[in-house]
Amino acid sequence: MHPELVRTSQNLTPVVSDAVVQKMGPLWQCRILVVDDDELIRAHLVAVLKLAGYDVYEAGSGEDALRVLSTAPCQIILTDWQMADMDGLSLCRNVRLKDDEGYVYVLMLTVRGTKRDVLVGLSAGADDYIVKGAPVEEILARLEVGRRITQLESSLRISNQENGRLSVTDPLTAAHNRRFLIRNLPRELERARRYEHPLAVLSCDIDRFKRVNDRYGHEAGDETLKTFVMRSAGCIRESTDWIVRIGGDEFVLILPETTLDGASSVANKLCQLLAAQPIKTIGGPLFVTVSIGVTAVETTDELASISVVELLRAADRCLYISKTLGRNRVTAASAACTSP
C-alpha cells in the first residue's frame, strides 16, 4: 500500500502490508474506468487507483463511459449509480449487452446502501457493490477481486482460442486439418452460391511419398511435407485461399473466387516449383514431384447443384487421372464434366 493512500482515509486502521501488495502481482495490465459525474470524487478515485498501480481512465457519465470503452477496452469499471445522462444501472446493462471480447467486471460505488439498492445494482449486471464511505482498503481489495477474475477470464479465453486453433491445425505442417475442411468448405460453397462467384479445389498428392519415408526416414518425409506446404503457401493468396492436410501426403487447396483457368495456373506453378528445387532433408536434397487434380464450379447451375462431397470427388478424379498419366502433372476439369 502506498503511504499516500493512508493519509486520505484517517479512519483507516491497519495499513495493507507491502507483502500483500507484492502478492497482488503486476497491475499494469489491468485497466480501470472510473465513472462518476462528480469531478472531485472522480479525481480522488483516479489518484487512489493510480497510486495502487492501475491504469486508470475516467468518464463523467454512462454515455461517456461507453465512448471510452469503445476506444480503450477496460477490464474493470468502477461506477457511480446516479448520474446525469446515462446512470450506472443503464451503463451496467449496456456493458452486459455488448458482445466485446473479454469480460468487464463492474463494481458499483454509490451512496445508495439499502438491501434493495444492492439487489437492483447486482441484477442490472454489476459484479460487486460497495457503498461510498467504505475505507480505501476495502475498495482496493474488491477491485483486486475483479482484477483476479478478469485475469483468469483472459487467460482462459486466450487458452480456449489457442485450443480452438490447434484443433483445426495440422501440428506438423501448420496447414489446416480435415476438421477445418469439414467445417469451412460448406461455408465457402454457400458463399460462392450466394454471390455467384466461382470456387476452385485442388487435390494434391506427393508422388511416391512412401519411398521418401522408406528410403530416407520419417524425418525426411516430415521435412518434405513441411516444404510442400511452404511452397504451396507461396503460390496462393494468403487472405482468401487455404491449404488442408487431409492425411499422409494428401493435401487440398481451396481457392475461393477462382475459375478453373486460374486454379490450373496455380496448380501448374506449384507443380513446377516443387519439381524445380530439391527439398533439403536430413537424408540430403530430395527431388519431389506432385500430382494435382483441379476442379471448379463457375456457373449458377453448377453452384446450385453440386455438393461439398461431389466437389471434392471431382478434384480427386482429376488427381487420379494425373497419377494414371504418369504423375508430376496437373489435370483440370469443371466439376460438371467429371461427374461419373
Binding site: 499516500e4 493519509r7 486520505t8 482515509s9 484517517q10 479512519n11 462518476d36 459525474d37 462528480d38 472531485l40 470524487i41 479525481a43 480522488h44 478515485l45 489518484a47 457511480d80 446516479q82 454509490t110 451512496v111 457503498v131 461510498k132 464511505g133
Partner: protein
C-alpha cells in the same frame, strides 16, 4: 468537526499542497462554500414556488444526493448524514402531498445549511423565520 479546521480563518482560495489528496480535499471544502449558496437558492426557489413543488424538490433531492456522495468520499459524515436526511425528505415530499412534508424538508435543509456553515468556518445566519430567506413554504 475535524475537517472544519481547514477553513477556520481561511483565505478565499484553497490552499494547495504537495499531496494530491490534500489538494482534492481542499477543493472539496472550497466547493462546500458554493454548495451552501446553491442550496440556499434552491430553498428559496422551493419557498417561492407557486404551483407544483415537484421540480424544486427534485433539484434539492439531486443536489443533496451529490453532496452525500462527496461527503462520503471526503469523510465529512456530518454533512453526509444531513444531506441524506434532506434527500429522503425531499423524495418523500415529492411523492406525498407537499404540505405534509414541508416541515421535514425545512428542518433537513436548515440542518444541512448549518453543517455547511460549520464546515466553511462560520456560523449559520440563515433566518428561517416567517420573513426570512425561506419564508412561505416553510411556515410549517
Amino acid at each position: 468537526m475535524e475537517k472544519a479546521k481547514y477553513w477556520q480563518g481561511v483565505s478565499p482560495t484553497p490552499v494547495t499542497s504537495e499531496d494530491p489528496f490534500d489538494e482534492l480535499r481542499d477543493l472539496f471544502f472550497a466547493r462546500l462554500r458554493t454548495d451552501r449558496v446553491h442550496l440556499l437558492a434552491l430553498g428559496t426557489a422551493l419557498a417561492c414556488c407557486e404551483g407544483d413543488p415537484a421540480y424544486p424538490l427534485e433539484k434539492i433531492k439531486l443536489f443533496a444526493h451529490r453532496l452525500r456522495g462527496g461527503a462520503a468520499i471526503f469523510e465529512t459524515p456530518d454533512i453526509g448524514d444531513a444531506a441524506n436526511i434532506l434527500e429522503e425528505a425531499a423524495a418523500l415530499a415529492a411523492i406525498v402531498h407537499a404540505d405534509r412534508s414541508d416541515a421535514s424538508v425545512r428542518t433537513a435543509l436548515d440542518s444541512l445549511l448549518n453543517k455547511l456553515a460549520i464546515a466553511n468556518g462560520r456560523p449559520h445566519r440563515v433566518d428561517t423565520g416567517p420573513e426570512g430567506l425561506l419564508p412561505r413554504r416553510f411556515k410549517g
